[in-house]
């Protein structure tokens, strides 16, 4: 009987629904754990306001750094052939698979134990246990993802737009800036928003390099960690709730723009 087709349909859709319920209950557990009033009070507290501000500043800067590096690197990988390209491509993809905590330890070793790190530190750029460390940790963990999105965006745009712009009076850089780059708007927005969102949530790498120092390197995830550790659930839930809201909004914007790119 045809009813069996419905069995497959019912079973698979049920699994999907159960998964959605599981994820929703995770989130609602956090959001509803304290009363709305105490949640709002916690959000208004000095510590959480510091964490929000630090998270926003570090994530915006690290996202801009990712964009600044990803655009030229993605362009080179999408448009040019050069010696060792396959190897270099694999290396720059590595942070996609590397555990963030390992990346954080690697950064700590570079900046904390090498003469290069000592030189940077003596010239005022201290990364270990400072907000600068948070920025460089977010950058390291997220750069490959941004690069992946931009590469696939550039690969979807014919180089002939730039050729035409060149015959119309542009040098190659102008041609790129006036054709391929504006045409990549959707990929840039989708990649930027998800990179920013992942930057906000970055924990492992930042913990290793910048440490968990209250009111100094206390981003939202570090605040969540610190307040869970010392049992201040109200502040913890406030930090977690804000991150949930940021995730939901970011994912929504990402899906809106990514639909128009070649990514999926």
């Amino acid at each position: 009987m045809l009813i069996k087709e419905s069995t497959l349909k019912i079973v698979t859709i049920s699994v999907t629904l159960l998964l959605a319920i599981f994820i929703l209950s995770l989130l609602s557990g956090i959001v509803t754990h304290t009363s709305l009033q105490s949640l709002l009070a916690s959000i208004a507290s000095k510590e959480i306001r510091f964490a929000i501000k630090l998270s926003l500043i570090t994530s915006v800067i690290s996202t801009l750094m990712c964009i600044a590096v990803a655009i030229p690197a993605a362009y080179a990988l999408a448009r040019y052939d050069f010696f060792g390209k396959t190897l270099i491509q694999t290396i720059v993809d590595l942070p996609l698979a590397l555990p963030p905590i390992v990346a954080g330890v690697g950064l700590l070793l570079i900046f904390g134990t090498t003469s290069f790190g000592a030189w940077l530190s003596s010239s005022g750029l201290k990364f270990v246990f400072t907000p600068y460390g948070i920025i460089i940790a977010q950058f390291t963990v997220n750069i490959s993802f941004m690069l992946l999105i931009m590469r696939s965006t550039f690969e979807g745009i014919s180089p002939r737009y730039e050729y035409v712009a060149q015959t119309l009076g542009c040098n190659p850089v102008q041609a790129f800036l006036q054709t391929t780059l504006p045409m990549s708007k959707n990929g840039l927005i989708a990649g930027g928003i998800i990179t920013w969102c992942k930057g906000i949530g970055e924990f492992g790498a930042a913990l290793m390099l910048a440490g968990a120092i209250r009111m100094r390197t206390e981003t939202l995830p570090i605040s969540l960690y610190l307040n869970m550790s010392c049992g201040d659930l109200d502040l913890a839930m406030a930090a977690a709730t804000i991150m949930i809201i940021i995730s939901v909004v970011s994912l929504y914007i990402f899906e809106l723009y990514a639909r128009h790119t070649q990514l999926y």
Partner: protein
């Protein structure tokens, strides 16, 4: 072919080679005169696009030199060459309006806003696309996009205009219309034009001269008549077919076109007037020893000048003032007892005469 020194060469390329892996150009040498409408004809993968992209300066040749208006431009950036390009798939900038697209080249040259406006209006009036200025390219038809791409290319008054298969992405009615348009623009502006195509009808209809390419090489250069009547290789003969292609002047009356070609008059049911090109498939022509009185509106008498046995099919050339190629089965050929020198009548219907 004209001697190099006696003519004004707008483009001269000497022994240019370029290897892009998938496509390549092999030791190409070519001169194109000022104001000429030059066709590059060849099948897909012949290296036609890479040739014009090398002329535009997109690629630097692996070897050889490119001259533009007597200056060596081999190492000059595309932006400094004054060569414009129109691709088959238009390549209109989707993030700019039609007006933004057409003004793109002038903006790069820091031309006054009011002058950009004036020049844009002039060219869009000429091409009948003024009503599209505020639209974005995504919403336009193929023919409209093509006109905008042409407007964008010619508004900067380039020395040379490169057209890469400009008609092949369009439906056949639009092709006919735009083909006439290209001829009109060329006449009006006199810009040296290089037009890449794989259609020998397009080549025949538009070209002052034609270069035939195959496998990255230029294998014949000449006027359309030279290339189509006297192909210098089996490849060209096979590629262009042995077709009845003529040029003439058409007059329309009663929904019928009458085309005068070198003194004889051919009737077509395709309606078009003015200077036209005409083709008749060799299979569509009937041959007879007696006069043919039938519904076929075109009927001529002449003499068989050439006979070629192609297996089951015999191709004969019948000179009736013009040389017509006529294909018939071997059996018919024998039954009718034809031979070179035999006087025959040929006939073909008005519907078999294709005007383009």
């Amino acid at each position: 072919m004209p001697g190099i020194l006696n003519y004004t060469n707008m483009i001269r390329i000497e022994n240019v080679s370029k290897d892009l892996g998938e496509f390549k150009l092999n030791d190409a040498t070519l001169q194109i005169d000022e104001g000429e409408y030059f066709i590059i004809l060849g099948p897909t993968g012949a290296g036609k696009t890479i040739l014009i992209e090398t002329i535009a300066g997109i690629y630097r040749p692996d070897s050889g030199r490119v001259f533009l208006d007597k200056t060596d431009v081999t190492n000059v950036l595309p932006k400094d060459r004054q060569i414009s390009m129109v691709y088959q798939d238009y390549m209109l900038f989707p993030h700019l309006t039609v007006e933004g697209n057409i003004g793109f080249g002038l903006r790069q040259k820091k031309v006054d806003k009011s002058e950009i406006k004036a020049k844009t209006n002039e060219i869009t009036d000429l091409l009948g696309i003024s009503h599209l200025l505020g639209r974005y390219p995504g919403t336009l038809s193929g023919g409209e996009k093509q006109r905008i791409a042409i407007a964008r290319a010619v508004v900067t008054e380039p020395k040379v205009l490169l057209l890469d298969e400009p008609l092949s992405a369009l439906d056949s009615r639009t092709t006919e219309r735009l083909s006439a348009e290209l001829a009109r623009i060329h006449k009006l502006m006199g810009t040296t034009t290089i037009h890449v195509t794989h259609s020998f009808e397009e080549a025949f209809a538009l070209g002052d001269r034609i270069a035939v390419m195959c496998g990255g090489r230029i294998i014949q250069v000449g006027t359309p008549d030279e290339v189509f009547r006297r192909p210098n290789s089996k490849f060209i003969a096979d590629f262009v077919g042995v077709a009845n292609l003529f040029r003439g002047r058409s007059v329309v009356h009663d929904d019928i076109s009458e085309v005068r070609i070198d003194g004889i008059s051919v009737v077509s049911s395709t309606v078009a007037s003015g200077d036209v090109s005409v083709s008749i498939r060799p299979e569509d022509i009937l041959i007879s020893k007696r006069e043919i009185d039938s519904s076929a509106r075109n009927s001529f008498s002449g003499e068989i000048t050439e006979v070629k046995d192609m297996g089951g099919i015999v191709r004969t050339v019948v000179d009736v003032g013009l040389p017509f190629v006529v294909a018939l089965t071997k059996r018919s050929y024998e039954d009718l007892r034809l031979a070179p020198g035999t006087r025959v009548c040929i006939a073909f219907k008005a519907s078999g005469v294709h005007i383009f």
